[in-house]
Amino acid sequence: QDLPKQSFKVVGSFGNLSNWIKVEKPFWSEQVVKDSKGQITATAQSTTELNLKGTEVMRLLKLGLFDFAHALPIYVAEDAMLEGVDIAGVAKDMATARKITEVWGPQIDKIMGPKYGAKILNWYTFPTQMIWCAPQIKSVADLKGKKIRVQGVSQGDLVEGLGATAVTIPFGEVVPALQRGTVDCGITGTMPAYKAGWHEVVTSVLEMPVGFTIIYTAVSEASWNKMSAPTKEFFTKEMKAFEDGAWKTIGDEVEMGLICVSGEGGTCSEGKPGKVVRIKPSDADVKAREAALNDVALKRWAKRCGAECAKTWTDTVGKMTGLVAAP
């Protein structure tokens, strides 16, 4: 039978990135309408269109301004527990990153209700984050003493574990800072690096995942509780399909981003390619990352998160990845 006719308000992620353009926007403006036979419609806007920073969206969801929000855990990261879903250096590839969201996501969902009156429906990601350097580098060893711009605390910990200096400066200042040597390197996703013009100021990218910028779809509990059972069922199904599609689409973006910044390995679909040198990590590089992760990043995170939280993580994510988080 037909679903009840209903319209929803949705806030998406950054308007200039593929997560919005290729995943969130088409989902709300086409997929949902089509699959519900026109019964469900949505007004979806990116944070960019709304002149928002992004950090406000969960509070706006709680206020009832939106029914659904695509939000980043790092935006509500006053709680170190949220970081557990994307500790820098833990996930070595996208498949692992996704599995981590499956086991740690529910932990985060637990606090979403009491704190934001929200419920998480699915987890996906931005393109894999890598280290981009203005001076020519060849390996992790070359990062020693370099100033690396990081987002989030655990990235900083990992970078310090690699012997570099972690620096925080606003995103908008990164490109000129790289250009003039205020910082030597920065960390961001492959396609986002291209979209933000990093390829014009860096020479090399170390193709070693250091993080993923995980993102989730949340629904406000108030809106959710008002939905009819068939509508809830509809969204549960749609959100699963959304998740599968998003991991696939963004997975493809990772390689395309690298093609676009380097001009190597294919044809850039987004515009004029750059000339960044792609550095494949050696076994020594991977070992160095693991050491930095185990000796610094995980230890510090466990301390921030507390013994109980660290134990839960070790029993879930740790079990899966063979890692231990203990202060």
Binding site: A77, E78, A80, G145, K147, V150, V153, G156, V167
Partner: protein, 200 residues
């Protein structure tokens, strides 16, 4: 005679001076960060975040000061062309709307602060500052602004029936005489004692 503006001025002035010292402190902290990063290979990580809070605190902390010095901008082009009663009513309306906005923002600010205070978790930055500490400063500024404008608005409503002249004097756009007085006293401190010789 009770004058809320005069009563709160010393407090607003102190708040503004504190904000000035906070600006000075963030400047030195930034210079320290620049030097540490450039020559000593380490970074405080989070100076940018503190900078954001400093701007919020400085703005909110100065709202009341800008109010008591009547600096919040108004366009009074039409004022010479409307009858005195209408002008008084517009002054009252301006005061009421400003106070409404101030009260609204303080109320929303309180709910943000309360939420962070309850959870009590430190900000997830290397500095681990509890979020409510900067927000408490921020809220203090908003609260001072809201309290002052709220009392001033109530006072203005009372004056509408008792002393309309005083209403215009206290809550109208600053009178010329007043502005000249404050600006001249400001100029005296601004200018060097010798004074540039251009001035005859």
């Amino acid at each position: 005679m009770f004058n809320p503006v005069a009563a709160v001025t010393p407090l607003a002035r102190s708040a503004a001076i504190i904000c000035g010292w906070i600006l000075m402190a963030i400047s030195f902290l930034t210079v320290f960060e620049i030097v540490a990063r450039r020559w000593f290979g380490f970074s405080l990580r989070g100076v940018d975040e503190i900078s954001g809070y400093v701007l919020a605190i400085t703005s909110a902390g100065g709202f009341c000061w800008a109010f008591v010095t009547r600096s919040h901008m108004r366009i009074t082009l039409l004022f010479p062309y409307v009858p005195p009663l209408a002008r008084t009513l517009l002054n009252l309306l301006a005061m009421l709307t400003l106070a409404s906005m101030a009260l609204f923002c303080a109320w929303r600010g309180w709910s943000e602060l309360a939420a962070n205070f309850e959870s009590g978790k430190p900000a997830n930055t290397p500095l681990q500052t509890p979020l409510w500490i900067p927000q408490a400063f921020w809220f203090a500024g908003l609260a001072l602004f809201a309290l002052t404008t709220g009392i001033a608005a109530a006072h203005a409503v009372g004056l509408l029936f008792r002393d309309r002249g005083l209403l215009d004097q206290l809550y109208g756009p600053a009178s010329l005489e007043e502005e000249v007085r404050t600006e001249v006293s400001q100029l005296e401190t601004r200018l060097s004692e010798e004074g540039p010789e251009v001035r005859p």
